[in-house]
Amino acid sequence: MSEIEKIDGFTEEEQLDFEAELQEGFTEIEERYAVDTQQGFENVLVMDNIPVIDESKKQKLIDRLRQLFAKAGAPIEEENISMPWDDKAATNKGFIFLTYPDAQQAENALRALDGASFGKSTLYVNRFGDIERYANLPVGEGELPTGWREKPYVEKDHLRSWLGDSAGRDQYLTFRDQDVSIWWNGRNGTAEPVKVDGKPLKNNKWGELYLQWSPLGTYLSSLHRVGVALWSGPKLDGTIGVNVLRFTHPGVRLIQFSPCENYLVTWSEEPLDNFENSPNAALRETFGPEDEGNQFVIWDIKAQRVLRTFPADKPIQGEDGPQQVAWPSFKWSPDDAYIAKCNVGTGIAVYELPGMGLMDKKSIKIEGVQNFEWCPMSEKDFAARKAGKGKECSFVYWTPEAQNQPARVSIMSIPSRNILRAKNLFNVTDCKFYWQNQGDFLCVKVDRHARKAKSKKATFCNLELFRVREKDYPVEVIEFKDYVPQFAWEPQGSRFAIVSSNDPNYGQGIPGVVVKYNIDFYQLDQKKGDFIPIKHLDSKIANTLVWSPRGRHIVLATIGSSQKFDVEFWDLDFVVDERRETSEPGANVTMLASGEHYGITDIAWDPSGRYLTTHASSWRSSPEPGFCIWDFKGQQLVHQPMDRFKQFLWRPRPPTLLSKDQIKKVRKELKEFSRTFDEEDAAEENRGSAEKLAQRQRDISEWNAWRARNNKKLEERRSELGKAKKVVKEDHKDDERVEEIVEEMIDETEEVVVG
């Protein structure tokens, strides 16, 4: 103010007035002529996360950017790119302005370029107007923008609380008629219903269609007419949106979780309608017009929103019978980073999660591709990833014979799309993929037909065994002259079991005829690196094999036969006499026990591998629905026939959180703990029936009461006589240290002396 020169002829007062007026004026003028930054700039975009470079690279950068824009369908002239420059640092500022001829093109460009990757970074694009608008939003500290409602914080329950059971029990679910119950599986099969606030956990809503646990056991999903509900937390119930998550998908029939429980796929028989004007708010809010006609929906579980929907596959032309939906159609990568779908004959579409955009913006074209499977990741892989040394996800796929190409099996790495290994095959009818659950091995079971066979019906098969952890993925081929209906890797192990049959009656389905199978066990020979057979079992009736999730134990069962219902328990490492461990590998394959479950339709191990359930579901028209629980040695613990029994599901467990060292420590200290566990177990067993328990409690209270009475009487009498009670001196004031010599025996050995 003092800078303004005094204008002659005016008093100070007047001068001050002038200045004030001028200021006012300025503001007025400013306002009047201010460029509305929010208007008139609809054709300008701001793009940032541009690499910061110096003068020398400036031109190159601009050229590259223009190339990118052109490719994306939003070309721009160089003069319309404005790159602010930081003179002091002699670099650009990391963002640029793009001026398009009109707003429409700008919008176009925005959509095409936002999120585009440029080299290593991703470019972000915003409307120029938006930036100003957001910058000017009157949001005070801690205030929410208008229209937002503050939701009170609801503390989520511990989603994994069931793992904290002190007895280490697993849970399982039984679905019978309309009732669903969840039980704790105690030792010896004693079942205790899972209680919430003292009452058994039950929910009428669960029994509508069917149920499924999520892969790590966190959620229980129930299917309903209107959609899928996910229940979690210790009560498996609670506030909607917190413990109960709802996914509206009318007519849903099939669901599948992603391995890390982040996403969910649902499939409905009915294609989605256009719900824009639906009276049902849930439908309206969930789906948009672009979802019309689709049958697959991909959800983000925690956010409870739709990520994307897909139309159904063209139905597979089967030779016989009704068309079936191949499920799972979408396959998740083991780390929940990708979801892929095989478009039979054309290629594999890999989508990145959570954006659900095609990886690299296009699907992988593989002509003739039939099927693919992701390679699982083991604990080690996840740990390596965390340490930054992990490898990429990969999957295996196969293509059948084409005009000038033999059939081929290939392993491709994602996202780099490098082919890690490919192998040609001949005379292939079909291929099935079996990954070992740690991702160590892959078996491709190739059903082959005789060359020049007319019908191309598979008559024998090969097993191509890839050792994925070794350099160049060496492959070993094992040929079989028989048909191999089942193959299974040992979880966490390096062995596998197969069921093969050379019985001419196989597959005929002739009633009354019992088909004979052979079962073989193979093991990876550490020295040679190949798989060698270790055990062959002839003429078995079992047609199903299920490994225990911990490996080592396997159950062979006959399922689907109308006459035989055997269940056999085998141990591949049965060692009785430790000194003889060095004998050849197959020697320890022993059958522990065999049992029978009339009407068996399914087998399931509990997640710890200690118990096995065989159950018979009325959905598969079993003659005797119900279930049995066995321990891993083959002793039947529970036999529970129940009519209208539908489902038995163990609740899965997430992988252990203990580090390797901790696991070692637990093993070492197991000795001490086992003693206490044993005593607890014995105590539990001997607790006996509830009756006995009640009796014992009565005994105790009677005893205590009697003793109390007596003590009182004694005390009274004592004081009457004026006598003091003799006590061992509790005060250790005059304690002393004494030494004494103790003898201990180190050992004692005996030997028989002749003569």
Partner: protein
């Protein structure tokens, strides 16, 4: 057993006390370990040399004054003038007993013998963990069932297996003990068939001295005429699948089984004389 046998030990005769040499004792000055060699007779009246190593050490305790005082009393009577410390002739530290408080069922032998880890003659071997026909120490499910019922627990608690993963395996404990149980009699052995136990409570016969050519159907034919047969099984060698000359037949009715024994025991079949008897559950078999 005691180093010196008082001749009123009523479990032994006096006569034998003369035949055995006298025990000897040596102390190694470096380690302070005393080795006592003594002699005794075992069940089969064979001379057994018992070598025991003992160490003396000083133990400190905090006790009340009166107790401490008594510790300081001079020895009297027969011990007058004797040095402090336990006299080996009168005091012996016994072997570790595994004493566990748990409700005892009348049939089971619950506690481990302090002396014998050898099988007691005449008692069948039952694994305490899984009730298989093997020693608990050799139970293949030790780790899973995780029990430390030491059959031979000498020094077990002192020796810690450093870093042993399945640190439950008794180191060397199976050494001296352990009757060899042939594979055919171990739990689960035998050609994929559940053996040695009749199905449920069906009356089951054991047929031995059976021709190795006889198959299940042959055996069934042989015994069908006595009554309805619930099940027949021929015991086969695991690898070669050859019959071991042993079979089990379970009848529906007990009297049919009895009839079968009567008529078939001692009968000739394929140049061998059959031996037919009741099959016994493992626990009772001698």
């Amino acid at each position: 057993m005691a180093a010196v046998k008082p001749n009123t030990n009523w479990a032994e005769d006096d006569i034998e006390a003369d035949e055995l040499p006298q025990p000897t004792e040596t102390t190694d000055p470096n380690t302070g370990i005393t080795t006592i060699t003594s002699w005794k007779l075992d069940e089969q009246d064979r001379k057994v040399k018992v070598t025991r190593r003992i160490r003396r050490r000083v133990q400190t305790q905090v006790v009340s004054h009166s107790v401490a005082e008594r510790k300081g009393w001079a020895k009297f009577g027969l011990d007058k003038g004797k040095a402090s410390g336990p006299d080996r002739k009168t005091t012996i530290i016994g072997e570790n007993l595994h004493f566990r408080i748990a409700p005892v069922s009348k049939a089971e032998p619950e506690q481990a013998d302090p002396v014998a880890s050898k099988p007691t003659g005449g008692k069948a071997v039952v694994c305490r963990l899984c009730q298989g026909g093997h020693f608990t120490a050799k139970c293949p499910y030790k780790e899973q069932l995780a029990v430390i019922d030491n059959m031979n627990t000498e020094g077990m608690d002192e020796e810690e297996d450093a870093g042993a993963q399945g640190g439950l395996a008794p180191k060397g404990a199976s050494g001296p003990g352990g009757k060899y149980v042939p594979p055919g009699q171990r739990a689960g052995g035998g050609a994929g068939e559940s053996m040695f136990r009749s199905r449920d409570d069906l009356p089951t016969l054991r047929i031995t001295s059976l021709s190795v050519d006889a198959e299940e159907d042959d055996v069934r034919e042989l015994f069908e005429k006595f009554g309805r047969i619930a099940r027949v099984s021929v015991v086969r060698d695991r690898e070669t699948r050859q019959s071991k000359g042993l079979a089990f037949v379970s009848f529906e009715e007990k009297k049919h089984a009895e009839e079968a024994i009567k008529k078939m025991n001692g009968r000739g079949y394929d140049s061998l004389i059959l031996n037919v008897a009741w099959s016994q559950p493992r626990g009772e078999r001698a």
